[in-house]
């Protein structure tokens, strides 16, 4: 009955000192289910999606596929928009990471599409220490939504986190499986 929660992410500076830690989503299929269930999700792209290779692709390629599978609006932080435009995608919104987190705290915010506050926010490619701070903010001040850190370094302050996946190959497999599951499962509602 000793409660065990995820406390040790990849980076030591992000060790959880606290009592509320992420649920680790070990299986991509479960990750897909979480995403699938969301009614008004949002996907936040951090600066690192642009230049982080995942096998033969870039992180942004997978992130985009995930977003597109459920028409999840994208918030492009930092200078990500530039790359997205190159890829012929227009982000639904452009805020820097801390700004979008600031809006997400407000339960009456209308969301990036004006359709109401988001219920699930995915994060990928945000610098890990900064992401962890933003996730801490949301954990404490945005009880109205859940966060999912799609990051192989793992994030204890998220509601859902990927386990630490050290090997590049495994990470690609995880992402590919996630994309695939989202592609095969019929969207809820």
């Amino acid at each position: 009955m000793a409660t065990e929660i995820m406390t040790h992410p990849y980076y030591k500076v992000n060790v959880l000192t606290g009592s509320k830690g992420a649920r680790i989503i070990t299986e991509p299929e479960e990750a897909a289910r979480i995403i699938d269930k969301a009614k008004t999700p949002l996907y936040v792209f951090g600066a690192e999606v642009i230049d982080t290779p995942v096998g033969d692709k870039l992180l942004i390629d997978y992130a985009l596929q995930i977003a597109q599978s459920r028409d999840i609006p994208i918030c492009a932080t930092a200078h990500v928009k530039r790359k997205m435009l190159e890829l012929q995608v227009t982000p639904d919104s452009v805020y820097d990471i801390i700004e979008i987190v600031h809006f997400l705290k407000d339960k009456d915010w209308t969301g990036v599409r004006g359709q109401g506050q988001h219920d699930l926010v995915l994060f990928t490619g945000v610098r890990c220490d900064l992401a962890e701070r933003g996730l801490a903010t949301l954990k404490h001040f945005a009880p109205h939504l859940k966060t999912f850190a799609i990051c192989r370094r793992s994030h204890p302050n998220a509601d859902y986190a990927v386990p630490i996946i050290a090997k590049g190959g495994k990470w690609q497999e995880y992402l590919a499986a996630l994309v695939k599951t989202l592609g095969t499962v019929t969207p809820a509602a």
Partner: protein
């Protein structure tokens, strides 16, 4: 407590009310709650944003208390208030560091020159202490007056520290108001400390083109006996300079420094060398080049005693803040201490500047000949060999890295004899040594970096101190109109997320766009570490006068005061607003009319937090690098969703400007690209004239296009009328604005928030 009559009399005496340089404004020597309404007004627009670092509070023995999910501590505190309390504690550490530093400096100089030693900042500076004038209402004329300023800081501090005790303040807004107070006090301390050292040591003042001095670890001549001073208080360093001069040893002994002591020492002696910022402390000390290490105070890594021992160097600690458990030899005979240091290899504490200086020099000269062998860095072969055990796979180093760097690959490549990646890594390394400590194979990664690092020497301009009144007269109008697009100060520490070159890049981008660019402390050093194709650093490329397109090194951390001072002087000298004891009036002016912005790209210290928090109270927005999120608190608006109503100073009517400027008061940005855009934006002011706004928008649009590829996504927020649109982008912008249904907004020439909250300042005071 409300001030009573006697207290008021006392204040009048302290600030010499009879001294009629200006009438005394409403808040002479403000205490804890005197500016609270102003603070609350700021907080109304700029909500605190908290990023808790911990779910718990562990401050008293009722804890630990779990503060998640609306839980309260045993004392009743909630998570937001706890964060705010923490911020206050940290700000106080910063304020105290500067305040104690100032007190020490002033007391020392008073011993040397007497209380009545005159403050004379040269022919170009008449408004000698804009911060002290505005906050206290005192025009300091002597060192004794500066002491009064510090005494005021001390008096207020105890109340602020008290408020952090369990069962005291229970509301986050009040904690923030107190943190603002701490920040403002910090600025008072900064100004007092720097003025004192400028006049007391005869640092440059009233000149803009101060000397260019050498910077970089390779600038240290390891053939000579070498003393390295580390810290923030150049007092002992200057005594060493004196001792060398008096004994004709200048040429025989190498004197170099790390952190602000280095910068301040070069203001005293342009022959001294600057090794680099905080991030270079361990890196350099591990080279063994130093024969004697002298630690003073602040930002001194605490394992220097061990490093000194490992390097066979002598250690002389000279501050009561950092005693390392060492024997106090202050009262001992110099020869006896010399023996302890040189023969018995003891590390010592010496709290007497002259004695410490003599020991340092004599020990360096005695030790240098014996230490030749110890001054070697690894050859590539040795380094390759040491790295050999690394397979690059365990990543223990990466996981420990405070800057999240990919060390494994770099070390692995080093093992193959390829030093490129390690060299690059070095430019992003903040010198925490955690990788080394974590390495499962005990690879001395910092030592490998010494081999990988380039050995260039750079030029940095020594700190110039206060901005001249005449400069202010010249730039005041274009700044307030907006035609000089902004004044940007790069302050603080070297906890950079990315390359050490980032600051140089940002500074140059802004200088090119005709911003007034100032730097200080570690940022000023880091910015020197980048050369153009012709081998010039930005200090050599851009003019040193405080004017559009300049690059100004104001000096060390305490010199930051002068940039805030410049903003005040714009209100006071250019706009002739009275500043004496007139904090709100001046800050309102800055907030609404002076396009200034502070940048701390590598925020790490509590001092930088205090400085930044103080800046916000003055109405100066602050942009932080990503590590700044670990400060746990920012101040942000909800942009166009907020209420941006201000008062038209001319008509005293409320006007909904619909314009989110300045947009945030303290914000973190992730990348240098985003930082540039944000800095530019934070320089917008409601007061901008259409041509001024046009120039600012021109910068904004050009940078946005350059870095993100389109027109700014929030451009509509900042175009008030078509007149604001820069010509070059006119067509494109108009078509965009149409597309998104933009509506014109009011333009105010005399915007103010005075009058939108309960204050003693009459609206009329804002239009002079």
């Amino acid at each position: 407590m409300r001030k009573g009559k006697m207290k008021e009399e006392e204040i009048k005496k302290t600030i010499k009310t009879e001294d009629g340089w200006e009438p005394v404004g409403p808040t002479p020597m403000p205490s804890l709650t005197d500016l609270r309404n102003w603070d609350f007004r700021l907080l109304q627009t700029y909500e605190p944003f908290y990023a808790p670092f911990c779910d718990l509070c562990c401050l008293c023995t009722f804890g630990k208390c779990d503060l998640t999910e609306d839980r309260k501590g045993a004392c009743g505190i909630d998570i937001a208030t706890q964060q705010a309390r923490w911020i206050l504690i940290c700000c106080l550490m910063g304020t105290a560091a500067h305040g104690a530093h100032g007190r020490h400096m002033i007391d020392y100089l008073i011993e040397k020159h007497g209380e009545d030693f005159k403050i004379d900042l040269g022919s170009q500076v008449n408004v000698e202490a804009p911060i002290i004038r505005t906050v206290l209402g005192l025009k300091p004329e002597t060192l004794g007056d500066l002491k009064k300023a510090i005494a005021y800081v001390e008096d207020e501090m105890i109340h602020l520290v008290s408020a952090t005790h369990m069962g005291q303040e229970g509301n986050y807004k009040d904690f923030e108001s107190k943190a603002f107070h701490a920040g403002m006090l910090d600025h008072v301390a900064l100004e007092a400390a720097d003025i004192a050292q400028i006049v007391g040591f005869g640092y440059p003042t009233s000149v803009a083109d101060t000397p260019l001095v050498d910077l970089g670890w390779s600038s240290v001549n390891q053939e000579k006996p070498t003393i390295v001073v580390v810290g923030h208080n150049a007092l002992v360093a200057n005594s060493i300079v004196d001792y060398l001069r008096q004994n004709g040893l200048n040429d025989q002994v190498e004197l170099a420094g790390l952190c602000c002591t280095a910068l301040d020492m070069t203001r005293y002696d342009k022959g001294a060398k600057v090794i680099g910022p905080l991030s270079r402390q361990r890196f350099f000390l591990k080279t063994g080049y130093a024969d004697v290490i002298v630690t003073d105070e602040q930002c001194v890594v605490t394992d220097i005693p061990q490093m000194a021992k490992d390097a066979g160097a002598a250690l002389v600690a000279v501050s009561d803040k950092i005693c390392y458990g060492l024997p106090n030899c202050s009262e001992k005979d110099v020869d006896q201490v010399f023996k302890m240091v040189v023969d018995e290899e003891q590390q010592v504490l010496i709290l007497d500047a002259d004695k410490a200086a003599e020991i340092a020099v004599r020990a360096a000269m005695a030790l240098a000949p014996k230490r030749r062998e110890l001054k070697k860095i690894l050859t590539k072969e040795e380094a390759t060999k040491l790295a050999a055990k690394c397979r690059g796979t365990c990543e223990a180093c990466n996981r420990a890295c405070a800057n999240l760097l990919p060390i494994n690959n770099a070390v692995f490549k080093t093992a193959q004899g390829d030093f490129t990646d390690l060299g690059k890594l070095f430019l992003r390394c903040i010198g925490c040594a955690k990788c080394e400590e974590a390495c499962v194979n005990g690879i001395p990664i910092l030592k490998l970096m010494q081999t990988a690092a380039d050995g260039d020497t750079y030029k940095i301009r020594t700190g110039r101190g206060p901005i001249h009144d005449v400069e202010i007269r010249k730039v005041g109008s274009p700044i307030v109109l907006g035609t000089i697009p902004g004044v940007v100060l790069f302050a603080g520490c070297s906890n950079f997320p990315q390359d050490i070159y980032d600051v140089a890049w940002l500074a140059e981008e802004l200088a090119r766009r005709k911003y007034i660019v100032c730097l200080s402390g570690c940022s000023a050093m880091a910015a020197a570490m980048s050369k153009d194709e012709e081998g010039r650093t930005i200090y050599e490329k851009f003019p040193p006068e405080f004017d559009a397109g300049c690059i100004v090194n104001v000096g060390s951390c305490v010199s930051n005061a002068h940039v805030v001072g410049a903003a005040i002087k714009i209100a006071n000298i250019f706009a002739t607003l009275p500043n004496r004891a007139n904090f709100e009036l001046i800050s309102d002016y800055i907030l609404n009319r002076v396009g200034a912005c502070g940048v701390v790209w590598g925020p790490y210290s509590q001092k930088a937090l205090a400085i930044g928090t103080g800046a916000v109270r003055w109405g100066i927005p602050v942009v932080l690098g990503p590590h700044g999120s670990k400060y746990r608190r920012l101040f942000m608006s909800k942009k166009e969703l907020d209420d941006w109503t201000v008062i038209n100073g001319r008509t005293a009517e409320l006007v909904d400007t619909k314009e989110p400027t300045p947009e945030h008061m303290m914000v973190v940005t992730e990348t240098k690209e985003r930082a540039l855009i944000t800095i530019i934006k934070q320089c917008f002011r409601r007061n901008d004239t259409p041509p001024g706004r046009g120039i600012k928008l021109n910068s904004y649009i050009s940078a946005y296009k350059q870095l993100i590829g389109t027109l700014p996504d929030d451009l509509q927020n900042f175009v008030r009328t078509e007149k604001d649109i820069p010509i070059v982008y006119k067509r494109e912008v108009i078509s965009y604005l149409k597309e998104i249904g933009w509506q014109p907004k009011p333009v105010l020439s005399l915007p103010t928030i005075i009058g939108t909250y309960d204050t003693k300042v009459p609206i009329e005071a804002t239009i002079k």
